[in-house]
Amino acid sequence: MLKPLLSVRDLRVDLNTRSGVLHAVRGISFDVAPGETLCIVGESGCGKSMTSLALMDLLPRVARRSADEITFDGQDLTRRRIAGKLRGRRMAMIFQEPMTALNPAFTIGDQMVEAYLYHVGGTRAQAVDRAAQMLEKVGIGSARSRLGQYPHQLSGGLRQRVMIAMALMTDPELLIADEPTTALDVTIQAQILRLLKDLQQELGLAIILITHDLGLVSRIADRIVVMYAGAIVEEGTAAEIFDRPAHPYTRALIDCIPQPGKTERGAPLGTIPGVVPLLIGRQDGCAFRDRCSLAQPRCADDIPTQDAGSHHWVCIHGGQA
């Protein structure tokens, strides 16, 4: 692998709640190489969004972040001054619902220009030129006149394009996208993802894409991190995760979704019994063991990570056990 652009070691996010400290992210480590698409996939409450917010220093007030290491291009992101210079400039983020991420009271031009002037500087005219250029790049025609429009005048797909254009204003090297297409129609989703892929090739952008949609992940990821109950349970390339899933949770999750051509129409779908464990307090052993068909007494002990090249999983069972 190339020298990583982003390195995360033992990232933890704790939330203070009325019932105690909730460990939303429980010591995860991963790298993102330049130009690579890393997908973080998991179900609600697995910690995937907390992970992305932790990277961008956007955690809610009740949350505490700690990590052995978070470095971006060798610079220490846990130091506020350094993070302040990198965030929004060399690393940018887009969110699920562009209507809530865009300010309804300002034109999209104003919002695109503001961020650019803050992070990069230059004159307003230069920033406006840049904004128009970026809108064209994301496939929005008559860009100059669009700059004067307000978010509510745009369709959902166009708003998400504007969000992407805005995020790319400062020519970042890393884009973090949290469920960027979940609110969109399938046709618009395909177009937005195609656009992200094309821009990635053109600009050499690394992307961290956070989603619950396994189908989407299978199409776009170079590497995949599967999270469960705040921890990474499996990591590998798209082919490794979908052709040879090793962790019982990954396998169960893939079996839950109807796969045209593979799942017989109308046949019962796979299910995962039980519910996600409480994230309050300590968790010993495998967090999935209460729902796992392969669980054994020793699953309550420390679970070793198994390695097969680029493919890792945290489970006592072998690949096809």
């Binding site: 046709t187 989703q189 993802l193 199409r219 082919a239 779908l269």
Partner: protein
């Protein structure tokens, strides 16, 4: 009459304000929709937002009156069936189990509500019936005295299903019933819906944007575009051999698990369909990768509800296409 549900020329218009001094515009949310559904079958409705799916759901539930056309339940216009009789036979399951349940009522209150409204049984009998239904949908009896906020999304959707089933209806209108749920919860709810259909002989209209789910669950599919049915057929016909370019684009854009396929290039362009300015000729023509001169002038024949097929010049027989 062999159809449980039939719509004939269903049309719904809305008057939409365009601003303070501009005249109101007419939005055709539905335009001549003909559908038929036999008892025990599942009809899937797919299409992008703005295609009229949700308006159709509201009309089928009697929550909105059509501007023209009619909905027939067992051959009788639902306008002539009393509201109480109608709701005994047709019940909804909506997308968001967080907003469709009253947060101040216990689960038992929510599930027995339809029975109370209809004055069926004594309090004890209603409780007994609710307990039976809750058991059927996989809700533990101890949930009866809990409140919706104490339940997970999947459990709440089970409550919504229990509430729909408590009246022993014939037809359930499911409007995006699993869109708000995680994959592992979605599969449980889909399995439950399939089991209930088999056990109780239910009939579903299943509205969803998730094409894999629709393909898995339904017997027939109607593909809608800007208020019209553009393709209609059995699941095998529509998913295995789509005829309308729009259906093809929809199927191509569905991101099924297939690491080798990558992100599709569906070639629809960035034009977004505007229900306020439906183009002449074929409504899909501005986005259609296979459009030719006829498409911008002549509107394709609507889908024949008895035969199925696609409302597309390319799918029409040469003789009909020349008309």
């Amino acid at each position: 009459m062999s159809y449980l549900l039939e719509t004939v020329g269903l049309t719904r218009r809305f008057q939409v304000g365009q601003g303070m001094f501009k005249p109101k515009a007419t939005l055709h949310a539905l335009n001549g929709v003909d559908l038929r559904l036999k008892k025990g079958q599942v009809l899937g409705i797919v299409g992008e937002s703005g295609c009229g799916k949700s308006t159709l759901a509201k009309i089928l539930l009697g929550l909105l009156a059509p501007s023209e056309g009619s909905v027939l339940l067992d051959g009788k216009d639902i306008g002539t069936i009393g509201r109480m009789d109608f709701t005994r036979r047709v019940q909804p399951v909506f997308q968001d189990p967080f907003s469709s349940l009253n947060p101040r009522k216990t689960i038992a209150d929510i599930v027995t509500m339809p029975l109370r409204v209809h004055g069926i049984g004594t309090d004890a009998e209603r409780r007994k019936r609710a307990a039976g239904i809750m058991d059927m949908v996989g809700l533990p009896a101890r949930f009866a005295e809990r409140y919706p906020k104490e339940l997970s999304g999947g459990q709440r959707q089970r409550v919504a299903i229990a509430r729909a089933l408590v009246m022993n209806p014939d037809l359930i209108i499911c409007d995006e019933p699993t869109s708000a749920l995680d994959a592992s919860v979605q599969s449980q709810i889909l399995n439950l819906l399939m089991d209930l259909k088999r056990e109780l002989g239910l009939t579903y209209v299943f509205i969803s944007h998730n094409l894999s789910v629709v393909e898995h669950l339904v017997d027939q599919v109607a593909v809608m575009y800007l208020g019209r049915v553009v393709e209609l057929g059995s699941t095998a016909q529509v998913f295995d051999a789509p005829q309308h370019p729009y259906t093809r684009a929809l199927l191509d854009s569905a991101l099924t698990v297939a690491p080798s396929l990558g992100v599709p290039d569906i070639g629809l362009g960035t034009a977004f369909p505007n229900p306020l300015a439906i183009p002449p000729g074929c409504p899909f023509q501005p986005r259609c990768p296979r459009a030719f001169d006829l498409c911008s002038r002549v509107r394709p024949h609507p889908v024949d509800v008895a035969l199925g097929g696609a409302a597309c010049h390319l799918a029409e027989e040469p003789l009909r296409g020349a008309a």
